[in-house]
Every structure is written in C-alpha cells, then in structure tokens.
Point group: C2
C-alpha cells in the first residue's frame, strides 16, 4: 500500500529526491534572492510519540489503534506550522488513541465512550486542514485524553440514483476513489479542491470546501443534497428534498460545522454525467486591473463558465503559464449536454472588450482544458501543496491565504493586503514575493487567493510565518475581506473569525453547540468555545 | 391613496363587481358541477374590532395606532381560513396595537417595550402569508397583548452599488415600489413571487420566498448578499462578502426565520441589469409523464432557462393556456448580456426528444415571454390570488399547496397526492378538480404546485378546507415530499414541519430562539415553541 509522508504533503514517493531539490534550490534563488537555501535532511519515517495517556477501552478495542505511526499520522493537518513541526519530528501532541469506526453505530459508540470520559474527539478525514482544524495537541486543553476519530473506513459510493442524479457516499471517501467509483456509473461529482488527492467528502462538507469551478454551483454546499451527522446526542439526518422553504435550512448548520457539532458520516451528493464538450481559451492582459474588469464582466454575464481564473503576473509565472509579467485570464466551459461555441464566443468578446489578447485557443475539444495555459495551470495547481513541503526542506517559506470581497472593495483590499504582506516579508525574510489569483468569481465579487514566498531563518520558521500570516489576516480584516473563502476557520483563523462573526450569531452557535455536544468533547477550540 | 381590501386579496378596486362575479359563477359551474354557487354579499368595509387590551405606551406613541381599521387590517394574512374569517367580518383576534417604526432604533424600542411587558410581537410586511404566519389571534396565547410591528415605513432603495451589482433596500418595500426604484438605476431584482404586488422584501427573506425563475438563482436566499435583523437582544448584521467559508453561514439562520428570531429591517440584495434579450416557446405534451421527462432533461441540461414551467392539462386550462387537456411546457430564456438563440434551440431539441410539439414560438424578441402561452400564463399567475377571494364569495373553494421531491419520487408522490386530494374533495365537496404545475425545477427534482377547487357548504367552509388541506399534507408527508417549498411554515404547517424537521435540529433551533428572544415574544407559535 502506498504510504503518505509522515510529515509532508501527500504521498511519500512524491516528495522530490535530493537531485530534484537541488534544482528547486536554483529556482528558489531566482524567485527569492535573499534565500540562503540549503538541503535539509528529511525527518526519520519512524516517529517517536509519547506514551498514550489512556489504555484502549474494551468497547472500542475492535476499531482502535495506539500504534505510534497511526497516532503520529493523525497529530495534525498540513498547515505551514504543521510542516515545520513534522519536519522537526515533533509528535509530543499526538492523540492517545486512534479509532476507525466502520459505520454510524460505531461512530455513536465512540462518542458515547468519549462523552462518558470527557475525552476530546477530533474527527479526521484526509488530515489536510491548513488552518489547524485537526490538531490533536490544540484539542487537548484540560482533557485527560484526545481521540482521533478517523472516518477512513466509512467510505465508498453506497447507492446511486441516476434519475435524480444523486449518489450516497461515505464521508471518509477520498477524492480519487470517489471519482473512480462514480465513473463506473458514468457520473462525476466534479469537485476538485486543491487538496483533492488527499482529502475526503466529509472534510469538504465540514469545511465548506470550494470546488474548481469558478462560477455557478461550485462550493460543496450547493452539491450536498442531504447529510447524516452523528452528535453526542444522537443522529441528525437532513431532509432529502431538492429544495424546501420550511424554516432555516438544517443542512446549513451541518455545512461548515468543522467537526465541532457532530461527525458527518455520509451524504447524498448531486452528481452529473461526465462532460462531453469543452471549450477554452486564455487571454493575456498587460494591466492586472483590466484583467479584473474582464473577470467581473464574465462573472456578471450569466454565461456560467466552469473556469474563469485570473492570474496576476507573479501567479502566472509561479504556475508556469506566462513568463512575461502579464496577467492571464483562463476561460473554460464544459457540458455533458451541448457544444459550447456560442458560450465561449461571447466570453471572448467580453474578454477582448477589456483589452485582452487571446494567447491560447479558442479550442473546442474533449481535452481542451487540459492543453495550453489551462493545462499547465491545472497540473501546477495540484502539485502546489507538494511544492510547499519541498520548499520548506530547502529553507524557503511559502504559503497561501484567501478571502472574498465585493468588486467595489477589491482594488483597495488588494493594494492594502499586498503592501502589508510585502512589508512583513521584507521585515521577516529580507524580501519575498506575493502573487494573486482569483479562484472563484461571483456577480458581487471575487475570491482572491494569495501566495507568498520568502527566505526562512533556521529556527525562526514559526515566528516568521506567524508574523506574515498575522499581517495578512489583519490587512484582510481592515479592508473588509472575510478571513476565509474556503480554507475554513479551524484554530488558526479563530481570532479574526471571532471578530468577523456577528456577536449574536456567535452566541446562537454556542447555544447550538451546547445542545448537540453538551460536554464540549467535539474538536475543542474550533469555531466556538 | 389606493385601499387594500379589508378581507380579500389585494386592492379593493380589483375585487370583481357583481356582474363579473355572475360570469365567474357560470365558469365555476362548468369546473365544479356540484357547486351551488350564489352571489354572497361582501362584508362591510368598516370592521368592528374589540377594545384593545392595552393603552398605547408613551414610548411608542409617535409610531403607534389603535384605529380599528389599522388593527383589523393586521389581524391575519390571506390564507383560505383568513379569507373565510374576513368574509364573515370576524376581527375578534385583532392586535391591540399597531406600530410602524421608521428605522432600526425604533424597531429596537418596540421590542424593548414589548419584551418588558411580555407582549407578543407579530412582524408584519405585506400581510400576504398563506400559512398563518402573521396571525395576531394565534400569536396571543397567554400574552396580555399582541402588537403588530408593521415594517411599511422602513422602505425604499437606500443605496446602490452598480459595480458589484448590489442594492441596500428597506425590508418594508413592496415588490412594485422596489422594482420601480431599481429601474431608475437600470437595475432589477427580478424576484416575482405570486404575491409580488402585495408583499415585501422582508417578508420574502423571512419566508425564503421562491422567485419566478424556474432554474438557477431564484430563491430569495440566493439573491441576499447581507441582511440586518433586530432581535430582543440587539442587532445582528450578517457579513457583506460574496462568499465566505467561515463556519456555518449566519445568513442562513436569518433566512426562513419567519419573524420568530428577529425583525429583518434591511438587506443588501444582488441586482442585475434589466434583460435585453428574451427567447421563448411553448411545447405541448399529450402525456403528462412525457412532459415531466422533458422538464427533467431541461433542469439537468445546464442551460439555466429562466422559465421551465410544466402545466398539466387541468392547470393549462385554469391558466387559459391550453384547452385540449394536453400538458404544456413553457420555456423561456432571458439575458442582459447576449442573444439566446443557441440556448433555446438546444432546449427545444430536448423538449422534442420527449415527444413534445412546439405550439407557440420559438420567438426571440424583447417581449417574447409576454406573448403567446407564456404571456397568458403570466397574467393568470398574478391574477390567481384575486380569483381565490372572488370564488369564495360565490361559494367555491379553491386553494393551492406545494412541495418538492426528487425526480425519482415524483411519479409515486403525484399519484398519491392527487388521489388523496380528489378523495377528500369527493367526500367534502361532492367532487372537484386537482391540477398540478412545476413552479421550479432542480437537477435533483421538481417543485410541484397543486391547485384544488370544489364546492363550499355555507357554514362548513373551514371544516371542508381543513379536511382537504389535511389530506394533502398527510399525503405529502407519507410520500416523502416537503410540507412547503416556498409558502413557509407559519402555524398552518407546524404539525407536518415538526415531523419533517430533524429532532435535533428542532432542539438547536429552540436553543437559538432562547438566545435571541429569551422571553419568546416574537411571533409565538411560529417555527418553535
């Protein structure tokens, strides 16, 4: 069986070998001239963990493990601080027990045992949180033990309704397995967050993940027909109607609950046939502002492109799409129902109206979105998380953050945020670069996504990251952006989330938490206290 | 100033005169042969109300009224039982006091006074609830007084952001005024529930209204960018981002709160330019089942038609669209951005694939959707609520109910529901007719909307209606449909809502209610106790 890296993003065999990392060092020196890159040794694959604070309860023996590797693997997610801790081989906060229930009844039993003992429970899907959402050490607080509840055994496509285009899927299903199984029915969920390869359906639902579509139904919220969640008080199954106007929507309390209200075990998802037609093109803009205007026109056109990603000059370079400093707007349409020529033609009219030059396409073909600039972007997109781990291992800081704001707010927000992050990079890293792309565009505003890169000081990694992250978060808050469009809150974003959240909604959410999880055992520290 | 009818739907001057009602009687005898129609006298326009239980508090004197007509007008909504009570001139349950705050501070003051006195508060928009949502008598329970909080003075478009296509609008704004004001900016909300002429933005938000679009963003939820709600505990303003993934969405707690959690005072709404292009056609089906299949194909096509309404034979006849018993699928597209020929062409391919015959159109013109079958349907759509009042006044029962279910469930649900309602009409009214249309179609299922017509017995009106309504609701519940797709819960649907709602969500909602409205003064009996 293929192993995940004990410390880095993703599969162990995809971590670059020393030769490849040497090449990366040369690239890094171009990008970040201040970098004193060095090939640091990877940590040993056999982690050392402290003795567990508890013995395995008899009631959970069949589904429990206290093996050091199992516990170490579920210590945390894959945020930058997690990579730093993992690279240092630090597993002092590992959970005491890992359980892997196989059905709803076993999940309920785990919660019952933990509730009776006041142990903290961290629901664990793919372990890819970049916001401290699955952190055993931070969940511990004053609890006697932390139990990692791994959903991996509650997986697979269980039922398909081709007429209503619905599929019932276990929450622990990883992205690729989910798509492989649906493909045998000629169907697809078409939800590709950047973590797709390593993350699970349950994790997407719990964190309100954003899909790869730039417009239209793309957030996992809109793809969820119904969900089942187990709470310490029992089961909560949302209704199975395509739409109901009966009071506030129960599903919207489950979506974004981040493991703090219950454990999502399965969902009926809206699926679609695989696309047969694609049409795409890439349009370059000398001026980022013109690209923004074109992206807005496209978002407000009612054409619903599947792709409408704007990359600024730095972003286009990092993603190996353009190397001349121009911004590029990637436009794509896809359909299982009809050819898309008229759609793309109108989109390109809009793109040209704002001064764009078509640099790739227009192409209409089955694999159109996989060639040209769009294809290069796609591959770089899925490889980016691997790159972050590799960069850390040669002494380079890289991370991302994201937000959403109105089109009206964007110019000011963008100026403030890039200035604040650049200043922090200059102070903390002796320089660095910031890039921006739009991951999603709505009629009322974009979801800007920022990447920053700088040089690390050995031993100063965490302090450097914290300073830049805080500068970014403060700038977002000051400019009126949300602290997260799709990365979720976890524990990293709590201070800014608490400020952004309406106070009375915070009180209401705390009341819901007390109702569903009266002893506060679920993911302590996440969302509410 | 134009007067609303004291008892019937809408404007008083639109209630048909005796001559027109004579004509209606002839039509009714064709539709409902069992009907013993008779021209009943309208009730007097000057209602008699009981003495108010309280005096006007000094703190509210400036915005309060105890005038009999003001109190009577706010006694209830416009459900069938409301029409019966109004026709009988029964205002025994009128609110004791009507207040008309002019801003958020005055709303807060009203809640403060009512909270201190433990008076019930019924937020009142257009007073068009068809589910007992604004019923002063039912809100009273053991309270010393009932106060009707009329939002009518918190009205108008207050701010427009043309770049992000947003408008800040007072909750008390009536549909036509809202559209008139937006039109001066070249914008429109394009949300036309059947109550449009008489209902308010705040009412749409509080009840999660369904718009006239059949697909795509149509429910008011999707058009709401941000909302302000005043609760007895203070103000709750949801965030102003186009999308945020920070925890469960606060706006989704406000949407559908039906006046039980707070008073919605204003909202930033997503607006659009007025459509420049339209394309439409009507397609007839000998077989309703074939029409259903065509509607499903259209809903799942990704074409996002603005209109995709299927009317069964009875419905087509009632709406004066077709008279030969065939079902008809009304298809329409509209855009402010591009001509729609390719969209309609593909939709008609799908429609014909299922055996349909194009009976009107295809037409591409600015007023295409206003001519032909679609135009006839549109006028009948807005006139239907007037017709219900007029029918009651000649001794004919008519009402509607609606639901949503998956495409897979629909055939069985439709068979059970029509059989149950027909049986109830046969028993209660000596016969009658049931018709069905789809108001909205989703990829995973339709929102079927039923109309029933039967003969009334003088004095038995309420019992007859209750029996048919209960038969319909029980059949919906048994067949797995929701008790309401867009009419809301109010008090009429409470028994079925309570069964449909996940029990733990009910407990969570009650906890939210206790947090925001600790003394339970807001719209008692609605949603939660």
């Amino acid at each position: 069986m293929r192993d995940r890296s004990i410390w880095a993003w993703g599969w162990r065999d995809k971590f670059p070998d020393p030769g490849a990392r040497q090449g990366l060092m040369q690239l890094a020196r171009v990008l970040v001239p201040a970098a004193h890159t060095a090939l640091r040794d990877e940590p040993p694959d056999e982690p050392s963990v402290p003795s567990p604070a508890i013995a395995t309860p008899a009631a959970l023996a069949e589904i429990a493990s206290q093996a050091p590797r199992d516990r170490a693997m579920r210590s945390r997610g894959r945020a930058f601080p997690d990579l730093v801790a993992g690279f240092a081989g630090d597993y002092t906060g590992a959970p005491d027990l890992v359980v892997r229930p196989r059905d709803e009844a076993e999940v309920a039993r785990v919660l019952e045992v933990c509730d009776a003992n006041a142990w903290a429970v961290v629901p664990f899907g793919g372990g890819t949180s970049v916001v401290g959402g699955v952190d055993a050490a931070l969940a511990r607080r004053d609890r006697a033990a932390v139990v990692s509840l791994d959903l991996g055994a509650i997986a697979g496509v269980r039922e398909v309704d081709p007429v209503s285009r619905l599929a019932r899927i276990g929450a622990g299903t990883l992205g690729p397995a989910l798509e492989d199984e649906l493909a045998t029915h000629g169907l697809t969920l078409r939800h590709y967050p950047q973590s797709f390869e390593m993350s699970t359906l349950g994790g997407w639902l719990a964190t309100r993940a954003g899909g790869h579509y730039a417009t239209g139904p793309t957030r996992i919220d809109e793809l969820a027909h119904a969900m089942t969640m187990i709470t310490p008080r029992g089961l909560l199954a949302t209704h199975r109607h395509p739409g109901s106007g009966a009071g506030p929507e129960p599903a919207r309390m489950v979506l974004g609950s981040e493991g703090a209200l219950g454990v999502i075990t399965e969902a009926w998802m809206r699926v679609v046939p695989r696309p047969r037609w694609r049409a795409s093109a890439s349009v370059a803009y000398k001026d980022f502002t013109a690209g923004v205007a074109a992206a807005r026109a496209l978002a407000q056109s009612g054409l619903y492109p599947s792709n409408a990603r704007l990359l600024d000059g730095n972003e286009a370079r990092l993603h190996r799409v353009r190397f001349d400093g121009t911004s590029v707007l990637l436009i794509g349409f896809e359909s299982a129902d009809h050819p898309l020529g008229p759609w793309l033609a109108r989109a390109l009219e809009l793109a040209r109206d704002h001064g764009g030059e078509v640099v790739s396409g227009p192409s209409e073909a089955d694999d159109a979105t996989r060639s040209g600039a769009a294809g290069a972007w796609r591959q770089a997109f899925f490889d980016a998380p691997y790159l972050q781990s590799a960069l850390l291992s040669i002494g380079v800081l890289s991370d991302t953050f994201e937000t959403a704001c109105s089109w009206t707010q964007f110019p000011e927000l963008h100026a403030c945020v890039t200035a604040a992050v650049q200043r922090a990079l200059d102070e903390e890293c002796g320089g660095g670069i910031v890039s921006c792309r739009f991951t999603h565009v709505y009629p009322d505003g974009p979801a800007p996504y920022y990447t920053f890169i700088g040089a690390l000081r050995a031993g100063g990694e965490l302090a450097q990251w914290r300073a830049v992250k805080a500068a970014a978060s403060e700038a977002l808050a000051a400019a009126g952006g949300t602290i997260t469009h799709h990365h979720a809150v976890g524990r990293t974003h709590r201070p800014w989330y608490d400020r952004e959240r309406p106070a009375l909604f915070g009180e209401a959410l705390a009341a819901v938490k007390r109702t569903l999880d009266p002893h506060g055992i679920l993911n302590p520290g996440v969302l509410v206290d």
